[in-house]
């Protein structure tokens, strides 16, 4: 039995038994290589679920949709390891109760999905442990290395040309499972810290703030990068921040649902070589 069929069966069981009220997965998209999020709430619809190598979007963000989990019922969701880490963070930041989330874990190596065994976030603790320090995918690796080798001024020029394309559609924010704030800092206008205008300066500010707020929280699922309609390599900034946090504080975002958020905790002996 293919993993797709196996998971359909499992989804059907979960829905039929009433164990979950909804399954969030993938279904066919508008072109053969596209997959779209699917929200299945009846056992009959389970057949529309698709699971293959093209299922890469991180669906965990839908769990914090207003009101979805407020009835205490459970929801099943298809997640790759990054998605499972995202659940840990959302739970650690008290955005959801991880017990309400049934995980249909999978990974994609090459084009074939493989099943991950477990159903609760804690079942995947060991797996997540092995991922620590490993870059989840190598897209953009070359560019990343090139950027690292540049001088600050060259990097600034690079980002200037990238951010000048930004149209402030906030697709990066909306696609990110970690950007759950009801009111984002750019939407606050008293004071208006970030210019809402999408001139390059405003775009710089926005992207710096976005990256800062995701430092130590980003699971590198790549949702922002894929969502960006003007192809800004956003994941490079996030990867830099993830690496920085790992190195400085040994913090691997989303390791467990009790992990303290890195920016809301401290150690007395944190590095401070830069402080005069």
């Amino acid at each position: 039995m293919s993993i797709e069929q196996q998971y359909r069966t499992r989804a059907k069981e979960l829905l039929s038994s009433g164990e979950v009220k909804m399954v969030i997965g993938y279904s066919k998209g508008s072109t053969p290589d596209r997959r779209r999020p699917a929200f299945i709430s009846t056992p009959e619809d389970v057949e529309t679920l698709v699971l293959d190598g093209a299922c890469i979007a991180n669906l965990s963000g839908y769990l914090v949709t207003e009101g979805l989990l407020s009835d205490e019922k459970r929801v099943a969701v298809f997640l790759r390891p990054e998605g499972i880490r995202a659940i840990n963070i959302l739970a650690a930041e008290f955005q959801l109760n991880a017990a309400q989330v049934e995980i249909l874990g999978f990974n994609t190596e090459g084009n074939e999905p493989t099943a991950l065994s477990g159903s609760k976030v804690d079942d995947f603790a060991e797996l997540i442990g092995t991922l620590k320090g490993i870059i989840p995918d190598t897209a953009g690796e070359e560019l990343y290395k090139k950027l690292e080798a540049m001088s600050p001024q060259e990097r600034f020029d690079f980002w200037q040309s990238e951010f000048s394309k930004c149209i402030k559609c906030y697709a990066c924010r909306q696609a990110c499972p970690m950007c759950y704030c009801r009111r984002c800092i750019v939407d606050n206008n008293q004071p208006q810290w970030v210019n809402t205008s999408s001139h390059t300066l405003g775009n710089f500010e926005w992207n710096i703030v976005r990256a800062f707020h995701l430092s130590g929280r980003c699971v590198e699922c790549g949702n922002c990068d894929r969502a960006c309609p003007v192809n800004i390599p956003l994941r490079l900034i996030n990867r830099k921040m993830a690496g920085e946090v790992l190195e400085a504080f040994d913090h691997f975002a989303g390791s467990s649902q009790t992990q303290e958020p890195v920016m809301a905790s401290f150690k007395k002996d944190d590095t401070e070589t830069f402080i005069l």
């Binding site: 508008s30 394309k165 559609c169």
Partner: protein, 337 residues
């Protein structure tokens, strides 16, 4: 016999236009994205892409533009208008869907109050469109009574030759004829056949959809929730759309000097309609998606006699969650049967 412009003359054309004082704009690929940008020579033009990633509207309605500069002194406020730079320009290689998008928005910006920021640019711009010989699964102009070679909004329409070596020239307006006078001697009279235009399958019945949308009963249909459940509420569809025209007015600066700007805004943002009291007339994403569809295919045509959609398909092409107008209208077509 028709006038023909051969590709190898294009560089000359650009030069002629530039020396005639026109700034030449066309699809340019830069930093992984194709957009309408000023070109120095024909070599900068990227004409092979089905259509540029970003729409043409930003040349007339930029994502952010200064409207006025203010300076405040003790007992005087000085407002300096920043009307767009007036200077003739020619857009070479627009796609017919983009060009018609501009024509669709003209009545809106000219409705009683004329928006100079839009019309100053419109009146100074010649639009030379190239008919499409390629399309993809997202193109849907034919479903909106337009076509890969529609002339709406264009001043000149070029039809690619079968040989791929040039274009048949169809001058549509005085403005277009005027601009092509400058390159008259670079054109050749010929009978070479044009390549067949792209075949764009009709994806939905826009009239039937409009009728369904006009029925007040359907406003509260469950359909809206179901179709928009995966919408994440970003603005990429509206910002890439050649006809979406909503904007915000924002001040930047301090108590003494600063700039008032006109910025793109999107009906898919929750804060778009939020009252200060906290009341939000369109408080759910489904209500916002419904507004977008209703506005484009019911309200707008009711006022300005054209659907506010030119069928470029960018909304679906770029949607992070694979939504878009096509799918919604296809579903409505099914419902209206």
């Amino acid at each position: 016999m028709t006038k023909i412009l051969y590709t190898d003359k294009l560089d000359n054309c650009v030069e002629r236009w530039r020396s005639a004082g026109l700034s030449v704009i066309g699809p340019v690929r830069n930093a992984n994205i194709t957009a309408y940008r000023p070109v120095g020579s024909a070599a900068d033009l990227e004409l092979s892409q089905i259509l540029p990633d970003r729409s043409i509207k930003e040349l007339f309605f930029p994502q952010t533009e200064p409207m006025m500069r203010y300076s405040i002194k003790k007992d005087a406020i000085n407002t300096e208008e920043c009307l767009p730079p007036v200077g003739p320009r020619i857009i070479f290689g627009a796609r017919p869907c983009d060009a018609s998008g501009l024509a669709i928005d003209d009545p809106l910006f000219g409705w009683d109050y004329k928006d100079e920021y839009w019309f100053n640019r419109r009146n100074e711009t010649v639009i030379v469109s190239i008919a499409c010989t390629k399309s993809d699964e997202f193109c849907m102009c034919t479903s909106l009574k337009l076509s890969p070679d529609s002339t709406k909004g264009s001043d000149v329409l070029l039809r690619p030759l079968e040989s791929g070596k040039g274009w048949q020239v169809e001058e549509l307006t005085d403005r277009g004829r005027e601009a092509f006078k400058a390159i008259a001697e670079l054109l050749t009279e010929g009978a070479e056949a044009a390549a067949p235009t792209a075949v764009v399958a009709e994806k939905f019945d826009a009239d039937a959809c409009s009728e369904w949308l006009r029925n007040p009963e359907n406003f509260e249909s469950r359909f809206w929730k179901e179709i928009s459940v995966r919408c994440i509420g970003c603005g990429s569809c509206t910002y890439l759309c050649p006809t979406c025209h909503c904007f915000d007015i924002q001040d930047e600066g301090d108590t003494f000097t600063g700039i008032r700007r006109k910025n793109w805004d999107s009906c898919s943002f929750a804060l778009f309609t939020m009252h200060t009291s906290g009341h939000n007339p369109r408080s759910t994403q489904s209500a916002r998606w419904r507004q977008r569809i209703m506005h484009k295919f019911n309200y707008f045509p009711g006022k300005f006699s054209a659907n506010s959609c030119s069928g470029c398909g960018r909304c679906t092409r770029q949607c992070p969650v694979d939504m878009g107008i096509t799918e919604t209208l296809q579903e409505i077509s099914k419902l209206s049967q």
